[in-house]
């Protein structure tokens, strides 16, 4: 098992290398002279030349790439062109809110979507099933910003139950932290809950038709035991897969959600960096996201072996 995890980590190196190459090339894929692009419309030729010098853009591409990779391997993601702060520090500041939002959303999704899917499968074809699946379609179809503004309007402005916007770090207390995350998490989780509930239902329906479920019934087991002990664990592989894939969805959704709820997270940093053409920051963020994604995939594969004894690596 341990050797498998090590092998998998080694196997991610080429993936990360390709991602790094792509991320680095962003600057060159964009049309025009990178220095001119970064300097913006109002820059004088001297400004452009200064940027070119400071970023080392006058050197050959491979040399630049080599020194960039070398710096990254030493933990140096470069310096923001706009704020002159180290990129790693900027990301570090913004990581907390985004991570909080993603974890709360993830937990909310699992706690809500999986039981909904199980109940829908158990009562397949009934009114309950149709209502749950109807909500799932609804959740799929609504964009995050629509749900976000609706929730903020109803629960924050009208009912005044929860704060409208903002973020409080966990260090200032659990409830203040959570209070600010509930609405964004619901908004962000909508699509995700719908997706996971549907997959759970489909996987459970498949499992509930299996012979061993009939055996469980023949033993006289209660409905709860059959659904959660015998069926759900057997249905877990597709569910875990989709939850994992959904984390990519969350990353994308976080960008929008953070704008709607004014959360100072990575999503807003990304937007700001793109608008300012702050290439070192964009590169740093994309690199971080791809790394997280590769890691999540590894975690999914490891989870399989915990769930299903037939899967051995």
């Amino acid at each position: 098992m341990l050797s498998y995890i090590l092998r998998r980590i080694v196997a991610t190196l080429p993936v990360m290398a390709i991602v790094a190459l792509f991320v680095f090339s962003l600057l060159y894929i964009a049309p025009g002279d990178p220095a001119v692009v970064i300097a913006g419309d109002q820059a004088s030729p001297e400004d452009v030349e200064r940027i070119r010098q400071s970023l080392g853009l006058d050197r050959p591409f491979l040399v630049q790439f080599g020194s960039w990779v070398w710096r990254i391997l030493h933990g140096d993601l470069g310096t923001s062109i706009f704020t002159n702060l180290p990129v790693s520090a900027m990301i570090g500041q913004r990581l907390g809110p985004t991570l909080s939002l993603m974890i709360v959303t993830l937990l909310l999704t699992i706690v809500v979507a999986v039981p909904l899917g199980v109940v829908a499968a158990w009562k397949a074809g009934s009114l309950i099933d149709r209502v749950i699946m109807g909500f799932a379609v609804f959740g799929f179809s609504l964009p995050v910003f629509v749900v976000g503004y609706m929730l903020a309007y109803i629960f924050a402005l009208e009912l005044e139950w929860l704060p409208v916007q903002g973020y409080t770090p966990l260090t200032q207390g659990f409830w203040p932290w959570l209070e600010n995350l509930i609405l964004p998490a619901i908004a962000l989780g909508c699509v995700y809950i719908a997706l996971v509930a549907r997959i759970t239902r489909a996987a459970m329906l498949e499992v509930l038709q299996q012979d061993y479920i009939r055996t469980a019934k023949a033993k006289g087991l209660g409905q709860g035991g059959i659904l959660f002990i015998h069926a759900l664990k057997n249905a877990a592989v597709p569910i875990v897969t989709v939850i994992g894939i959904g984390i990519a969805l969350l990353i994308g959704g976080a960008v929008v959600t953070e704008s709607v709820f004014a959360i100072p997270g990575l999503g807003r940093l990304t937007i700001d960096a793109i608008l300012r053409r702050d290439y070192p920051v964009i590169q740093g963020i994309v690199l971080l996201f791809s790394f997280v994604y590769v890691l999540v995939n590894l975690m999914i594969d490891v989870t399989y072996t915990l769930v299903d004894p037939r899967i051995r690596y």
Partner: protein, 556 residues
């Protein structure tokens, strides 16, 4: 009869399907005495399993008891609800199923699965339940029970899984056990061991058993009383002796005739009308190949080793002439399927050579063999007609596909004509060609599989248990079809099977395999009548025999 335990009175069960309500059981009446073993025999769709499921209240959601009573100790089980029902299921009455590996939860250790049943019905601690589970594993004679407690179903053989199922079923000492095809899919020797065990346990615990099976011979061996079902009704109920020697109902007679026995010949399985047409073919003497003709297939010292462990097949040699039929028999794990797959060039041999029509084909990598010109000469018919057909291909596509791939035919009239020819050859009605596998019956699917295999006019057909999933009457027809193909089209048959009665009828020669090596080979009848090795003798003795007498011959 001893004290009455179960009385089923005019039971009707209906299923609501897309095409309306289907009546699966139409007025079944039967009784089971305490401690008695009753055989419930019939072909697929006869309603025998549905009767069993209705009794244990395990019918699918679509199925409903529409009439009649099921009285268990005087109580109508069709009316039980809630806790009463749960006390019935598993505690008073339990069930074991066909395909034991699928009936066990694949990701739960078997010890836990047995303990689940105990904990549901007894108020004892988890440790006590675990100890009882261990005792049960001992009772069903599983070797090394302590270690097996933590095993998962995929780590056990099919026979072992069925023992675990039996352990679960008897865990709460039920008064009635319903065994639904408990040994279908297990090989003959395992079948005998499992059935003997079941019979012993039932006798020792005074447990009544209903043995649901399609195998008349099996029911005859273990039951004193057999009820025969056809299309939702019981058509005859009698002791095995009377049933086989003087079957009263026409259906029973057909069933008895179609069940292959140690002495039956392939033409015995045919009904009167078909027999004449068939006789003309059989009487036509087969052309003996001219002396010195090279054999069609020659296998030399074939061996297969998988990644780790010992050889699955070692030192296997054989020859086959054109139009000859050879049987390959052995228990599961004996390497017969591996051997047949190597000969088909679906997997690569580790050692040895395969010579087909004078050309060595053993060294062509199996993944490249589809480009070999011999691909169309060697075709395969697979075990499960349900799973070996692509559910998205119509019957026509299934048969046409190899013609397009291997014969280079294009879609058009010629292709259609050839497909229809093949369908006619195997007796598949042409109006079924546009249908998809799920719209066909098991026998029809088997015919599609054979039509597909013969479409490119192969010279060697390798058949891996082609009739194992079929009813005896369908099996009879398929066997005749294969025999006719061999006689009329000179197709050589390599027939892999664990059903020795079938092999004896169909094959000129038989090769007995054990642990990947040849134990014995020779002319089929001689080999089975006078086995030279203990292993072959054990295989032969494990076949449930039907005592046939002159009365039966007269009845036909």
């Amino acid at each position: 009869m001893s004290e009455e335990l179960l009385r089923i009175d005019d039971l009707h069960v209906a299923f609501s399907t897309r095409r309306g309500v289907v009546e699966a059981v139409r007025g079944v009446t039967l009784t089971v005495g305490a401690g008695e073993m009753l055989g419930l025999v019939g072909e697929s769709g006869s309603g025998k399993s549905v009767t069993g499921f209705a009794t244990t209240r395990l019918l699918d959601a679509a199925g409903r008891v529409t009439g009649g009573k099921i009285l268990f100790r005087g109580q109508d089980v069709t009316k039980l609800r809630g806790d009463d029902l749960r006390h019935l299921q598993g505690a008073a009455m339990s069930m074991i199923f066909q395909n034991p590996r699928a009936a066990l939860n694949p990701i739960r250790a078997i010890g836990l699965q047995i303990a689940d049943a105990i904990l549901t019905h007894k108020r004892i601690s988890k440790d006590a339940a675990r100890a009882e589970a261990l005792d049960l594993l001992r009772a069903v004679q599983i070797r090394d029970p302590e270690a097996r407690m933590n095993a998962y179903p995929h780590e056990l053989s099919g026979g072992m899984c069925q023992r675990v199922m039996i352990a679960i079923a008897i865990s709460c000492n039920p008064a009635l056990l319903i065994a639904d095809e408990p040994t279908t899919g297990l090989d003959v020797t395992t079948q005998k061991v499992v059935m003997d065990l079941l019979a012993d346990i039932a006798a020792a615990r005074g447990m009544a058993t209903i043995l649901i099976t399609h195998d008349l011979g099996l029911a005859a061996r273990y039951c004193r009383r057999i009820a025969v079902m056809e299309r939702g009704r019981i058509v005859e109920e009698a002791s095995p002796k009377i049933l086989f020697n003087a079957p009263q109902h026409a259906y029973t007679r057909r069933l008895v005739a179609a069940s292959p026995t140690a002495t039956s010949r392939i033409e015995d399985l045919v009904t009167e009308e078909e027999r004449e047409r068939y006789a003309t073919v059989v009487s036509k003497p087969r052309q003996e190949p001219a002396h010195g003709t090279p054999p069609l297939l020659e296998v030399r010292k074939l061996a297969k080793r998988f990644d780790q462990g010992s050889a699955a097949v070692a030192d296997f040699s054989m020859t086959m002439a054109g139009g000859e039929s050879v049987g390959l028999v052995g228990e599961s794990g004996s390497g017969k399927s591996t051997t047949s797959r190597m000969i088909c060039r679906l997997i690569d041999p580790s050692e040895g050579d395969i010579v087909f029509d004078g050309q060595s084909i053993g060294h062509v990598a199996s993944r490249d063999f589809h480009r070999s010109r011999f691909r169309k000469d060697i075709q395969m018919v697979f075990q499960d007609p349900n799973e070996s057909l692509n559910p998205r291909y119509s019957a026509f596509d299934c048969i046409a596909h190899p013609l397009m791939r291997l014969d280079g035919q294009r879609a058009g009239d010629a292709l259609r004509k050839r497909v229809e020819e093949c369908a006619e050859r195997v007796g598949l009605p042409l109006d079924l060609l546009p249908r998809f596998p799920h719209q066909l019956s098991g026998g029809q699917k088997a015919r599609v599989g054979i039509a597909r295999a013969i479409a490119c006019r192969p010279r060697l057909l390798v058949l891996d248990e082609p009739t194992a999933a079929l009813d005896v009457s369908v099996q009879a027809v398929v066997l005749q079809l294969l025999d006719r193909l061999r006689r009329e089209n000179d197709i050589a048959l390599l027939f892999v099977s664990h059903d020795l009665n079938v092999v004896r009828m169909l094959c000129d020669r038989t090769i007995v395999l054990r642990n990947g090596g040849i134990v014995e080979q020779g002319e089929s009848r001689a080999l089975f009548d006078n086995p030279k090795t203990d292993y072959t003798r054990k295989l032969v003795e494990a076949i449930p025999h039907i005592e046939t007498g002159e009365v039966l011959a007269a009845a036909l």
